[in-house]
Structures are given as structure tokens and as C-alpha cells.
């Protein structure tokens, strides 16, 4: 609750600063609209913004989900097979040297203007952090517990399922916290490169027509969406981590 209060205070202070900056610097509204104007625009364009927010929101969520599943499966395969580690890991590091943003035009070329290239962007951008933090967790199971499970003649897959994965949940959670912030970036970049709907598209459109107030309204909605996503995943991660820790 204290955090919530602090957040509100910081937001209000920021908006006040913004407001007075506009007033005293006498900035035209096509350079920096005042927060009041942005709020008015938000209210009058609510259904338009909502429509685009739903699109971007679904891209983010599907991308996040798919990236998490794919990243987790990769991490488990890497953890269980040394052969996979020697082959796949260098490839993963190499793939990180490739700027994901540069792929966006290609993805649009290959997959068209629909949801898929955006989902794929979000997925690609979170795949590495999820995989790598979960993998680290899986490789750091307390040694004593692993020894015990080996003496018990445990089946490797059951050891994975009952011991290594639960013990790696805090690692996965920290990967997901990063993913919650990265996934929206992926979706927006995807929309900038080529889209007919979504907040990224709306922002470009508004910008092109000097409707900076609408652009700001869309931007603020995006920020709020990202914050809510991060907060929910953080909560989920914390409660899971608490459950798995001594």
C-alpha cells in the first residue's frame, strides 16, 4: 500500500512538472500538449484507444505466454542434456548478437501485417532472458538435494519435475519480471514496422498528423499496461518464490 501511495505521489509530481513546463515555457500543443489536454483527448477518444490497446495487449500477452513456454522448454532441455548445451548454447549467445529490432521488417515481410509478427517480436525479445535465468536456476539445484535424489535412485525426469524445476522457480520468476517489461517493447516495434491496429500504430498515426495529445494518451495507456503487467508478474513471482524458499 505504501508503494502504491508513493507511486501516486510520484505520478502527480510528474504531471504537475509537465503541466507547469507547458504553461511557463508556453509550448505549442503540437510540440508538448499539457497533461489536461492529454486527459481530455483520452476521454473523448476512449473507445478508439481501447480498441487499439486490446490489440497490443493481446500481442503482449500471447507473446509473453509463448515466449515463457518456449524459453522454459528450452531451459529444461538444456539442463537435462549436456549435448544440447554444447550445441544450442553458443547458438543462443550468437542470436543475442543479432539485434532483434532489425528482424522486425523481415518478420512483417514474411508474416504480413497481422498479429503474428508482433507476437513473434515479443516472443523473440523475451526468449533469451527467460531461458537463461530459468536455465541458471535449473543448474543450481542445491547439491545435497541432488545427491539425495540420486542415492534414492530417482528417475531423472521425476527429479527434474519434483526437485529441479521447483527449486528453479525463483530464477524463472526473475526472468519473467524482465520479460514483462521487454515484451511490450517487442510488440510496439512490431507495430511500428507495419500494422493497421495497435497502440504503436495509433502513436505513429497520431504523430504523423501532429495529434501529439493523442500520441501521449496512447503512450500513457501503454505505460500503465506495462506497469500492471510487471506488477502482476512480480506479485506472482514473489509468492511462488516465497513458497519455494526455506
Amino acid at each position: 500500500m505504501k508503494l502504491f501511495l508513493r507511486l501516486i505521489l510520484v505520478t502527480v509530481a510528474l504531471f504537475l512538472f509537465w503541466h507547469f513546463l507547458v504553461v511557463f515555457a508556453d509550448l505549442p500543443k503540437f510540440i508538448l500538449p499539457s497533461p489536461l489536454l492529454v486527459m481530455q483527448t483520452f476521454v473523448s477518444n476512449f473507445s478508439l484507444i481501447l480498441k487499439h490497446a486490446v490489440v497490443t495487449g493481446s500481442e503482449i500477452l500471447v507473446g509473453l505466454l509463448a515466449g515463457t513456454v518456449l524459453g522454459s522448454v528450452t531451459a529444461i532441455c538444456l539442463a537435462i542434456s549436456p549435448a544440447a548445451r554444447t550445441i544450442v548454447r553458443p547458438m543462443m549467445v550468437l542470436s543475442q548478437a543479432l539485434p532483434v529490432f532489425a528482424l522486425a521488417p523481415l518478420l512483417t515481410l514474411w508474416l504480413g501485417y497481422g498479429l503474428w509478427p508482433k507476437i513473434l517480436m515479443a516472443l523473440l525479445i523475451i526468449y533469451f532472458p527467460v531461458t537463461s535465468s530459468f536455465f541458471d536456476g535449473l543448474m543450481n539445484t542445491p547439491k545435497g538435494m541432488l545427491d539425495l535424489s540420486r542415492v534414492m535412485n530417482g528417475n531423472p525426469w521425476r527429479i527434474m519435475l519434483n526437485l529441479r524445476i521447483p527449486a528453479a522457480v525463483p530464477g524463472l520468476a526473475s526472468g519473467l519480471r524482465l520479460a514483462a517489461v521487454y515484451a511490450p517493447i517487442g510488440a510496439i516495434i512490431g507495430e511500428w514496422v507495419g500494422a493497421s491496429e495497435g497502440l504503436g500504430y495509433l502513436m505513429l498515426l497520431a504523430n504523423g498528423r501532429a495529434k501529439i495529445d493523442l500520441m501521449f494518451a496512447a503512450l500513457i495507456v501503454l505505460v500503465v499496461m506495462t506497469l500492471i503487467l510487471h506488477w502482476s508478474i512480480d506479485r506472482l513471482g514473489n509468492s511462488l518464490t516465497a513458497k519455494m524458499s526455506p
Binding site: 545435497g144 539425495l148 542415492v151 534414492m152 535412485n153 530417482g154 521447483p166
Partner: protein, 238 residues
């Protein structure tokens, strides 16, 4: 019941960890192994448990009665290694779960009762004291029903009162099993050892245990004398 013969020297690459030693763990009795830190006690235990991947034994570990070692051993260490997300009962049932067997709740609850934790059986490890956690670990060890039990300083992190209690509980419930207790505490060896081995860089020395069956009273004259003798030996070896 199984007797176990250990014979050989241990190496990591070209470096010797300990020279050629040999000893027998008599069927159904407590063998205590004492020695200064870093001399290779835990290595011996891990070699027997089949957990060493880097240290190689030049020698052999065999069961006198024949048969394979795997599946005959259970292990209890200084850290309880309870899974924090499982209750006491679920931790006792860990072996069942990891081998994909049907969990035997009746047996687990009976063992939990034996170690005096019935009231605490639904609690997770963080809610238990150090002594209670080691009791759960003991119940988990008993649940495995393996003839050979390896104990790696299982009581050394406990305070003196709880340690004495745990020694008694272990002696009572592990009766009939072939046990190797690795410890650095001469008092523990003198109480529990039916055979006492002192390991040093020069090799292994067999020390005559105090008379009488275990578990011996900690204040018995012979036990105290043996404790003194062991301590002297340990200091000489260093």
C-alpha cells in the same frame, strides 16, 4: 543384512586424496569414522554412495554377501536437505515420489510418529526447529528401508541436548542396519561406535570401542576414557 568391504586409494587426476586403506562395515552394526577435516572422510562416504564423479577410487567397494550396491544405500547428512515446498510427510515420501511409486502414507505417518513429529507432520520445513528437521530426515532415511545407511555428520549442527536426543533416536531406529557414521566428534564415536576408525593422512587406525552395546551413556567411565583416547589420537595425527 549386508557387510561392506572398502579397499583402495582415492585420486583426483594425479593427486592422491588418501593412501590405500581398507576396512569392513560389519553387517548390522555401527562403524564410526573419525578424522580431521579434509582427510577424506566424506570422500569415502560419497564413494560408497556412488556420488563421486571427479575423485576416482583405485580399489573396490563390495558387499560381502554379493549383489549390487545401488539401491542398497540411504544417506543422511549434516544439512537436512528437506525440500522447502513440501510438508514433513511429503518429504518423508520423497523417495516414493522420485521413483514414481505409489506413496505409502500409512508407513510415512507411522515413521513420523516414531520420531515424535505427529503434530508437526503437515508443517513445512521452515516452521520446524533444527532438531525437528533432522527427525524428518531420519524418518525419510528409515522410509527407504535400505540395509546400508551412510551418516555424514548428521548431528553436528545441533545443540548438545538435541544432539544427544538424536543420537539415541537414531541408535534406536537404525538398529539392524549396517551403518557408517562419519563424525569429527570423539564423544559421538565413543557413544555410538561398535567399531571406531580414525582416518589420517597416514592411513586408517582401528581403535577398540568401549565395552557394552550401544547406545552407551555419555557419562560412563569407559566412554569418557575412549573419548579421551580418541581426542589424543586425533591431536597426535595432526
Amino acid at each position: 543384512m549386508q557387510s561392506l568391504l572398502f579397499e583402495g586409494s582415492a585420486w583426483i587426476n594425479e593427486i592422491q586424496i588418501f593412501p590405500r586403506i581398507s576396512f569392513t562395515m560389519q553387517a548390522g552394526s555401527w562403524t564410526c569414522m573419525l578424522g580431521p577435516s579434509g582427510v577424506g572422510k566424506t570422500t569415502i562416504l560419497r564413494l560408497i554412495a556412488g556420488l563421486e564423479s571427479e575423485i576416482v577410487l583405485d580399489g573396490s567397494i563390495v558387499l560381502k554377501e554379493g549383489g549390487r550396491l545401488s539401491g542398497q544405500i540411504s544417506l543422511m547428512s549434516q544439512t537436512d536437505n528437506l525440500l522447502p515446498w513440501l510438508s514433513a510427510t511429503e518429504n518423508v515420501l520423497l523417495g516414493n515420489r522420485l521413483r514414481g511409486e505409489k506413496p505409502d502414507f500409512d508407513k510415512a505417518n507411522e515413521l513420523i510418529k516414531k520420531v515424535g513429529l505427529t503434530e508437526h507432520r503437515k508443517k513445512r520445513p521452515y516452521a520446524l526447529s533444527g532438531g525437528q528437521r533432522q527427525r524428518v530426515a531420519l524418518a525419510r532415511t528409515l522410509m527407504e528401508e535400505r540395509p546400508i545407511v551412510l551418516l555424514d555428520e548428521p548431528f553436528s549442527a545441533l545443540d548438545a541436548r538435541v544432539r544427544a536426543e538424536m543420537q539415541e533416536l537414531a541408535a534406536q531406529h537404525l538398529q539392524g542396519k549396517t551403518i557408517l557414521l562419519v563424525t569429527h566428534d570423539p564423544a559421538e564415536a565413543a557413544r555410538l561406535g561398535e567399531r571406531i576408525l580414525v582416518l589420517s593422512v597416514n592411513g586408517i587406525k582401528d581403535v577398540c570401542p568401549p565395552a557394552g552395546g550401544i547406545i552407551r551413556a555419555y557419562d560412563e567411565q569407559t566412554v569418557l576414557a575412549c573419548q579421551g583416547q580418541l581426542l589424543r589420537l586425533l591431536r597426535e595425527e595432526e
